[in-house]
């Protein structure tokens, strides 16, 4: 098993922490391997933020994500910039209030969640990244829920722990409900929800 992921959005959405949680879950709590890289060039300034992960059950040799299996896009710019590199038939997870899709997503399995709205309901917009991590966990099933919960617990300061765990649960549940609605028929294949379909 080797999966390449990219998580991208704008500065302040916590995309690096989201990637960090997933990498930590994979390599520490799930007993596998994960390599996280970030873009540091001038293109990484001016509000855009992105991190890539290679997750595997074997040591990761090639460090970069070349054609991601999964793209998590939290902003329109992130979507536009990275949707083209996603593997044919790959997965696209989007913040559906912020990312209007176009025909470039047609060959992908698309899943949307209003992560920012859910985070606002929890009282802190800043936890939208962890809502997204919960959603990612439920939809992709790359990692076990226990491993990701443990990584969230490690990765956030104690006074925000409960808030972040709630954020994870809300995102996870949203994903579970979405899959239930989507009537899964084949393994690893899920119907695309109407509201974010192109």
């Amino acid at each position: 098993m080797l999966k390449e992921l990219r998580i991208a959005g704008f500065g302040g959405q916590g995309v690096i922490l989201a990637a960090h949680i997933i990498g930590r879950a994979a390599s520490i709590h799930e007993g596998g391997y994960a390599t996280m890289t970030q873009n540091y060039g001038p293109e990484a300034r001016g509000g855009a933020a992105s991190a890539a992960l290679v997750v595997s059950d074997q040591p990761v040799l090639y460090p970069y994500a070349v054609s991601p299996d999964i793209l998590v896009a939290l902003s329109q710019e992130a979507y536009s910039r990275f949707v083209g590199e996603v593997k044919e038939g790959g997965m696209l997870l989007v913040e559906e209030d912020l990312v209007p899709l176009d025909q470039k997503a047609q060959h992908l399995k698309v899943y949307g969640i209003p992560a920012t709205r859910i985070a606002e309901e929890l009282g802190k917009k800043m936890v939208l990244n962890v809502v997204m991590v919960g959603f990612f966990c439920a939809i992709t099933r790359v990692l076990s829920r226990e491993a990701v919960v443990a990584a969230v617990t490690d990765a956030v300061p104690e006074r925000f722990r409960q808030l972040n765990l709630s954020a994870f649960d809300r995102g996870f549940q949203y994903g579970v409900d979405l899959l239930a609605k989507g009537a899964v028929t084949e393994e690893n294949s899920v119907a695309v929800p109407q509201e974010s379909e192109v």
Binding site: G23, S27, I28, M36, Y62
Partner: protein
């Protein structure tokens, strides 16, 4: 001697190579760093500046790299383990004082997180273009030790090793990271302090009146005394005698410089630090170091899937170069393949040691990213024909 528990972040972490390097330096006992922050090495000193004061250490942001590379040497002679951290243009500026550390036998560590060059080049992207500079960058004749990590875990482990080797042989050690390992985040396991062995400062075993500052020991390495302890501590960049006093003639030069080379030559077996696999029946061996070794490993797997007999030799210590090992290997194989993120530097040494016994294939790359495994595979296939 073991690491000080207060400074060791024992546990399992998900951190980048720069952070791991900083933790390695702290675990190794470094209590002083001076630097002029530069991408992609900045995170090392940023973290050190935050961590060191809590364990009685200090970071000074100096006016430039010349000042940084001399400040650390002052602190070593005052009794502390010290290091500096830089990249590309900053490394060039440090060359003068790397020579001073070599001639004054000042144990210290220079971390170079290599980025694309020459000049300001590619600040945020990887290269391995400073490998010859690590060996020959300062003027005059000297030797250093250079280690190349290929993961954040090794940024920790080999940072500790770098400080240990610096103390053991009293040389400046070049810790040759690159942007890719520096900025990549992976699992890093930091052991318990009791499980981290440290090489202690070779402090004067005689009292001040009987001690000669540069009197070589049985392994040609002198003991050290610090300023302020009552010893005569005369340290100079000039050619000097055993007392450390300048003696400007050919005899003194011969005695000093020969010893500086000989102390490392005698340790060449111990400094042959490699990771080898499948060398016994290999037709082709891929010789690599640093981040490139991971991409090479992928290419080796691809070649083996095609039925080729390919071995792996990863150089953990690039300088001194493992001459004996390469000579023996070259007599048994069809080809040695060396991918590196430069236009062909360490491959020159590989060719020299192979001495025409087998084909040597360079897989150069100007940097900015890592090789594609297919580029290395193509060279392996060429060598196997």
């Amino acid at each position: 001697m073991h690491a000080d528990q207060r400074c060791v972040l024992t546990g399992t972490h998900f951190i980048n190579g720069d952070a791991a390097c900083c933790e390695g330096a702290l675990a190794a006992g470094a209590r002083f760093a001076a630097g002029y922050p530069i991408t992609p090495s900045t995170e090392i000193v940023e973290r050190f500046a935050a961590r060191a004061p809590k364990v009685g250490g200090l970071f000074i942001q100096m006016e430039d790299e010349l000042a940084s590379s001399i400040a650390i040497q002052g602190m070593v002679w005052a009794g502390q383990k010290s290091f500096t951290v830089t990249s590309g243009p900053g490394y060039s500026l440090m060359m003068e004082h790397i020579g001073l550390a070599a001639i004054s036998e000042t144990p210290c560590v220079f971390v170079d997180v290599q980025r694309g060059g020459p000049s300001t080049g590619l600040p945020t992207l990887p290269a391995q273009g400073d490998m010859m500079q690590a060996r020959f960058g300062s003027h005059g004749d000297y030797v250093t030790i250079a280690l190349c990590p290929n993961s954040p875990q090794e940024c920790f482990d080999l940072a500790v090793k770098s400080f240990n080797l610096a103390e053991q042989y009293r040389v400046p050690v070049m810790f040759m990271m690159d942007e890719c390992v520096g900025h990549m985040t992976e699992k890093v396991v930091i052991p318990k302090a009791d499980d981290i062995a440290l090489f202690p400062r070779r402090h004067a075993s005689k009292p001040p009146g009987e001690f000669t500052l540069f009197e070589p020991g049985p392994d040609l390495v002198p003991e050290m005394a610090h300023a302020g302890e009552g010893y005569k501590v005369y340290v100079t960049g000039l050619t000097h005698d055993k007392r450390g006093y300048p003696v400007l003639n050919a005899d003194a030069q011969r005695e000093l410089i020969t010893r500086l080379f000989e102390k490392i030559r005698r340790a060449s077996d111990e400094l042959t630090m490699v990771e080898a696999e499948g060398l016994e029946d290999a037709d082709v061996v891929v010789v690599s170091y640093g981040i490139t070794s991971r991409v090479a490993q992928r290419a080796i797997q691809m070649a083996r899937d095609k039925g080729l007999k390919v071995g792996k030799l990863r150089l953990i210590c690039v300088w001194p170069f493992p001459e004996k090992l390469i000579r023996e290997l070259a007599s048994k194989v069809k080809a040695l393949v060396m991918p590196e993120l430069n236009m062909g530097q360490v491959v020159l040494e590989l060719e020299r040691c192979a001495g025409g016994q087998c084909q040597v294939i360079s897989v150069p790359h100007p940097g900015g990213t890592v090789h594609k495994p297919a580029e290395i595979l193509e060279a392996i296939e060429r060598g196997a024909r």
